[in-house]
Amino acid sequence: MDESQLRLDGNAAAGILREVFAMDVSGAQEACASCGTIGWMGAQHLYMYPLAPGAVVRCSTCGDVLMVLVRGGGRYRLALPGLRWLEMREPVQAPPET
């Protein structure tokens, strides 16, 4: 199978990212250190199961690695090689109006 078929959106890593971040990262904005593009983490390319024991997020414009999160043996290792900045928002999670 062609690897591109396994590609997901950064949005699909929102669960594992909440294991280390207090706030939602999929709805955060980011700037790629390589190409300078500003985008949403949820819209970047994600490579996760079954290719990686964690999550690899790549810039959807230039393909460079923005973030790697590996989990195992009771540890989390987070690498942020390609992020110039990351801007999270206060929670927008709201119960439905009744």
Binding site: Q5, L8, A94, P95
Partner: protein, 252 residues
């Protein structure tokens, strides 16, 4: 919309299956009862589901929440059975009413629609990719929203169309929701809808013009999502008005 003051830690919960609905021969909906502390969800969000074997081995997958936020106290996921899959055959064939399922959520802050982004909506689904879009359609109906919305929905055959009756009923309300089906493999005699994979021409006919300020949500198997997103950009849509949710290699 009111902002919740605190976002709780995302923890694993257990929900009891209260109902199963056969949607198609390969697809089943599971309705889970929610505890009081469920924070509510936004249309388009998903949950992570975790299965644990007796020897401790765990498998985890994501499933979109298909029910509307207004449908309080419960949550529906709709799962397509992937023949050699690790998780989906169990969810579709073995989990029954009264069983517990472990999950966490609601998850995802990007692929969500809560009526405020406005603009006419284009929803494009392939197979089970309809699930998060159905939450948006149900949310829209529950709110009495009249945001002009077009759904372009690709299935293999008519019997593979998930939520067919409900979608057609909602479209018949003539409140601004229009539904276009395309059947890629088998068509019933006399079928007048589309009969091919979604392409540029179909998106030109069904989709909005970029200058109408549309917002697009595209969901389904990765190859379909990428083809549709590329075609929309080719048609002049700004990439940041096309939100995608790739489900991976699977699905119709």
């Amino acid at each position: 919309m009111a902002r919740a003051a605190v976002q709780r830690r995302l923890t694993w919960r257990r929900g009891r299956v209260t109902r199963r609905v056969d949607e198609t021969p390969r697809v089943r909906t599971l309705v889970l009862a929610l505890e009081e502390d469920w924070p509510g969800h936004l249309a388009g969000q998903h949950v992570d589901v975790r299965l644990t074997a007796e020897d401790g081995y765990q498998a985890q997958r994501s499933y979109s929440i298909a029910s509307a936020p207004e449908d309080v106290g419960q949550l529906a996921i709709t799962v397509e059975r992937i023949g050699d899959g690790e998780v989906s055959p169990y969810l579709v064939d073995e989990l029954t009413e009264g069983d517990q399922l472990e999950f966490r959520g609601p998850i995802g802050g990007y692929f969500v629609w809560d009526e405020t982004p406005g603009g006419p909506l284009l929803l494009v689904a392939g197979g089970s990719g309809i699930c998060p879009l159905m939450a948006m359609i149900r949310h829209r109906a529950a709110r009495g929203s009249r945001v002009p919305t077009r759904l372009l929905y690709s299935s293999r055959s008519l019997e593979d169309v998930i939520y067919r009756e409900e979608v057609d009923l909602l479209a018949a309300r003539s409140d601004g929701l229009e539904v276009f089906h395309t059947l890629t493999r088998d068509r019933p005699a006399g079928w007048t809808g589309y009969a091919r994979r979604i392409d540029l021409e179909m998106l030109t006919e069904v989709g909005w013009r970029p200058d109408e300020g549309p917002l697009g949500f595209v969901c389904g198997p990765t190859p379909l999502v990428e083809a549709v997103a590329e075609a929309l950009v080719q048609l002049g849509w700004s990439p940041d008005r096309v939100k995608t949710e790739r489900f991976g290699p699977t699905g119709g």
